[in-house]
Structure formats: C-alpha cells, structure tokens
C-alpha cells in the first residue's frame, strides 16, 4: 500500500506519538507491509452486508434503563490518588490557554 512518510507523520500526530527520523526509517516499511496484508479484505464481496460493531449482535443494550439516581462514585481523594500532579484537590496540568 502506497502510504507516504508524510501520511505516517500525520497519523502519528493524530495519535499523539512521536517517532524520530531514524525510527521512522524503520517503522514506515513495516507499517506498509501490515497495511498490504489487511488490504486483502478488499477481495471480499460485502455488498448489502450490515456491519457488525457490537461483540454479540442481538444482545445490544436493552431498552430498560436504570432509575436516574446517584450511586456511589470514587471520592475526590480516591480519584486523585494516582494523579501525577495535584493542587487544591484538582489535577494540575500545563497551561491550556495562551495568556
């Protein structure tokens, strides 16, 4: 499959991943190889076939929804236990909005 290196770079940006130029050298040909394999699906005639996105068709979500009541959830302390950085009971992250 003719996917260009630029396209692979774009996919990496979308996926929030970074490959050094040397890593790209190695990654791209392998990636193309895998795409060649999966592109073989084109051979299969799926005209008129309904796609199946659920793990078990017919068992999709039932219509009966639970009562809209609050249920126990993690406490703020529990939710913050694994925080890389927290301040005043909140997750601290780099500035989001340019000043």
């Amino acid at each position: 499959m003719k996917i260009s290196r630029d396209e692979v770079e774009k996919i990496a940006a979308l996926a929030h991943l970074e490959y050094s130029p040397e890593q790209m050298e190695e990654f791209v040909p392998r990636f193309r190889e895998i795409l060649d394999h999966i592109a073989r699906l084109e051979e299969l005639d799926t005209q008129g076939i309904e796609p199946m996105y659920h793990g078990l068709p017919g068992e999709e979500l039932s219509e009966d929804l639970r009562e809209d009541e609050t249920r126990p959830v993690l406490t703020r302390e529990e939710a913050l236990e694994n925080a890389p950085e927290e301040v005043d009971g909140q997750f601290r992250v780099p500035r989001v909005i340019e000043s």
Partner: protein
C-alpha cells in the same frame, strides 16, 4: 504435605479446605513458597501480594471455623490475576511502563466476585503490554518462560497466568482474551483456557483493549475447575452494559451430566486442505488424534466449511487496533500513570508521555488503529472489517445448523522459541489465525490440553460452541481427559 497440596485441582483444594482437612493458610503458604522457589526463573508474576494473601487465607479459615455455611464457594482458594484486571490497592500495570506505579482505587467486577466467593488473591501475572501480543515478550518488564521448555515462550498475552497454572505457581488464574490471549497461552502451556461468550463475564475493571472483543475467562488445570470459576464470574453486571441479561446456568452442575453424543464439525480451511492455511504436522497430528478419541467416545466427526475464515486475521487486525487506539487515548499523563517531565505545553505532555510510556508494539497498533479510522480510509478498512465480522458470524451460524461444536487447532505451531518471531510483527500476528474468529463473532471457545507430541511440547484442541453454550465445551473436553 505442602508439595502434595500443589498437585490438587482447584476443586479438590476447595473441598479439603471446606472439610477442614487442610487450612487455607497452609495452601496459601505452599503456593507462596513455590512462587519463591521458581518464579525468578519463570517470570510469571509482576506482583506477589504475600501479606495480603495470607491475611485473606486466615480470614477464610476464620469464617470456615465459625460457620462453613457462610463461606463462599471458593473459600481459601488462591487465584492469580492477569495484570490488566484492576485490584483495589494492588499495583496494576497492564504490563506497561505507562501504568508502572498505578494503584487502582477500585476492584474489577470479577475481583469483587472472587473476593465475595472467598478466594485469595495471590498476585498479578505478567502479560504482553496492554494484552497486545502472542508470546508475553511484549511485557515492558521481562518475558515469561514456558515451564515445559525455558527457551520457549508461554504464549500470550496471558502468558503469566498460563505459565503460573502449568508450573503450579497458582491452582487457577484469570486471563483476558481479545484475539486468543487466553486460549493460545493455555495451549502453549498445556492447561485449560476458556474464552466465554461475549457478554457472559463483566468487563468492568478490565483495562480495555478491544471493547467489542475482550472477555475475561479462567485458566485452569481442567474443565471442572473452569466451571468452578465460571460459576463465580458469570452474570449480568450493572457496571457493564454489554453483559448479557441471560441468567448464567450452574456450570458445575451441568458438568455432572454426560454429554450427549455430539456432531463435531472440522473446518477444512483449518486443517490445511486449502493451500497455506493448515497447521504444522505435529499440531495436525495431535488434533487428528484428539478427534479420533472423540469419535471413539461416540461423537460424530464431519468436515465442514467456513468459507471466509481466511479473512478473519485481516479483519481482526483492523477491528482490534481501531478499538485499541480509541481506548488508549485515555493515557495522556493528566489523571494517572506516567507523566513526561517538564512538559512545554499540553500537547507536548501528551506526546512525550505516550511516546515514553508505550512500547513498540502498542504504538504500532495505535498507529494502525488511528490509520484505519482516519478520514478517507475508514470505509475501506474499518467498515469493511465490521462487515467481514458479520460474514464470519453467518458462516458459523450456518455451520451450527448441522453440527453442535466446531473443532480444530488452537495455534498453527507448538510453542516457539523466545525471540523467534519478535522481528516480524505479521508472523507474530499469524499465531492468532485460529483464535481471532471467536472474538469477532462473540462465540465461546475452549483450549483443551492434549498429550504432548513427539517434540515433547504441549498440544491442544480448540472447541467452539454456539453463543452461551460454554457447558457443551466443558462437557466435551472431559471426553479427552
């Protein structure tokens, strides 16, 4: 005394603990000792929870002494858990650097159920990072070795769980199966591995890989132990909307009944009658011997066709990475797990956290998934794969009109050597060629251990049943015991 304890099945252990012949603490100690002796060499466990396990065992003994009736069905039974199943207060890494120090604030549904049943959590087992792999060599920490041959892989991604049960470092374990990750390592390690029907067991608290494919299941010594665990694990869960509302049967009770003589279909596409799709000679021989044994027990063996089976691996390697790329977007360094040092800005933090935290194979699958879901390609790849799933399901439903079960190999080869397939991802992916179909279709499937082949390596037979017919799989596997 302690060594003979290691030879008992999970069910025998439960019975003896309940009847007071042996204390839960003694059983727990025997297993901890065995782990201490052999795990340095095998690498089954990422975390062993020694103190807590002994506490839980003492608690089980206390409850049993007070009132055996109050004790759960697994009172005092030690169980190992794959490290992508979250355990409150016990490190859960999914085999990844990005979650190296993650201490979950809650228990997975299966863990709550095990605890309620009185089980003792021994520890967390090694795995391919985020369950992506077929050899446990993608663990960010160390590889696990096959107990039958230390130079070979235990399979994956639940390699730690399968090797632990095979080496008597746990009487039973849980794994997860997205494309064969319970069945393939069970086959490589000579133990029993069951992937239940999609929706039979709650995925709440299972670190997500492919949400429409993932299923937790038991890795045990035999079918009877699989039923014992499944009885505890199965059932609807309000925290997982994809669990089925069908009440779970009493699997242990159903296993008491002799199976009716069954019609077993063998897909000719799996046995190499079509160029290049068959397993190697030793695997084929073992499967054929097992089929003869089933025939001798009154089963009817017939050839069937699953005409589109050769497209399963391609469909799987589109659907699974697509779902994975979406599920793994949550690892951004904000709320838990690794965060890259001194980020310049938010985008830099996301990028460097993920680049440092994920291993090569996980990144490859995120890339693949991002690609097949991207504008301009989603129709040709992801939608096409979703349609292929439906075609595969139709093939199977048609087959089940004439046969009760489908049988074939679990893997194309016996366990391979460490390093043998690590340089060629597609070759590694092909290890899953016979297992991915059950995940794409939601069907339950079981890996049944068979006598070793001429090479002395474990062999296995895969059985696939219609949806929700796990009992049929377990009953039939007993004919091979």
């Amino acid at each position: 005394m302690s060594n003979s304890l290691l030879e008992l099945t999970a069910r025998q252990l439960c019975d003896r603990i309940r009847s007071g012949q042996v204390k839960a603490v003694e059983v727990c100690q025997a297993y901890l000792q065995q782990i201490g002796l052999h795990d340095r060499e095998l690498g089954c466990y990422l975390t062993v929870d020694e103190e807590e396990a002994l506490d839980q065992a003492r608690e089980a003994d206390k409850v049993l002494a007070r009132s055996p009736r109050e004790a759960g069905p697994l009172a005092g039974l030690p169980v190992a858990l794959k490290d992508n199943i979250v355990t409150r207060g016990l490190r859960t890494s999914a085999g990844s650097r990005i979650l190296e120090d993650f201490i979950p604030p809650y228990d997975a549904a299966v863990v709550s159920r095990l605890r309620q049943a009185g089980a003792v959590i021994l520890g967390k087992t090694n795995m391919d990072e985020f369950a992506m792999g077929s050899s446990t060599e993608n663990s960010a920490f160390f590889p696990t070795r096959n107990p039958h041959d230390r130079q070979r892989v235990p399979g994956g991604s639940s390699g730690g769980s399968a090797a632990a049960v095979a080496a008597r470092l746990a009487p039973a374990a849980l794994g997860s199966d997205t494309g064969g990750s319970i069945r393939q390592p069970a086959a490589f390690c000579g133990v029993s591995g069951l992937k239940p029907t999609y929706g039979r067991v709650s995925r709440y608290g299972l670190i997500a890989f492919g949400s429409s494919l993932d299923q937790i299941g038991p890795i045990t010594r035999d079918a009877s132990d699989a039923a014992l665990l499944l009885d505890v694990l199965a059932g609807q869960d309000p925290n997982d909307a994809t669990t089925s509302a069908r009440p779970a049967p009493d699997f242990s009770e159903e296993l008491q009944h002799d199976p009716q003589p069954l019609r077993i279909g063998v897909p000719r596409q799996w046995m190499g009658d079509e160029a290049g799709t068959g397993p190697d000679a030793e695997v084929k021989e073992a499967v054929e011997a097992a089929l003869e044994k089933l025939q001798a027990q009154g089963c009817q063996i017939e050839e069937i066709s699953l005409p589109h089976t050769s497209y399963a691996i391609e469909a799987y390697y589109i659907v699974a990475p697509a779902e994975a790329s979406s599920n793994l977007m949550r690892y951004d360094g904000v709320r838990y797990g690794l965060r890259a040092e001194n980020p310049r800005d938010l985008a830099d933090m996301y990028r460097r956290t993920r680049t440092q935290g994920f291993g090569e194979e996980v990144k490859r699958r995120i890339m693949l998934g991002t690609f097949v879901l991207s504008a301009g390609y989603i129709e040709a790849f992801y939608s096409k794969a979703a349609k292929t799933r439906r075609v595969l399901l139709q093939d199977h439903l048609k087959a089940f009109e004439t046969v009760d079960l489908i049988a074939g190999p679990v893997t194309p080869t016996p366990p391979f050597k460490l390093g043998e397939k690590t340089s060629d991802p597609w070759q590694m992916y092909l290890s899953d060629i016979y297992t991915v179909t059950a995940n794409l279709t939601g069907l339950p499937a079981l890996s049944v251990p068979l006598p070793a082949g001429p090479s002395g390596l474990p062999q296995a037979l895969q059985l696939t049943a219609p949806h929700f017919q796990e009992s049929r799989l377990l009953q039939t596997s007993r004919l091979l015991a």
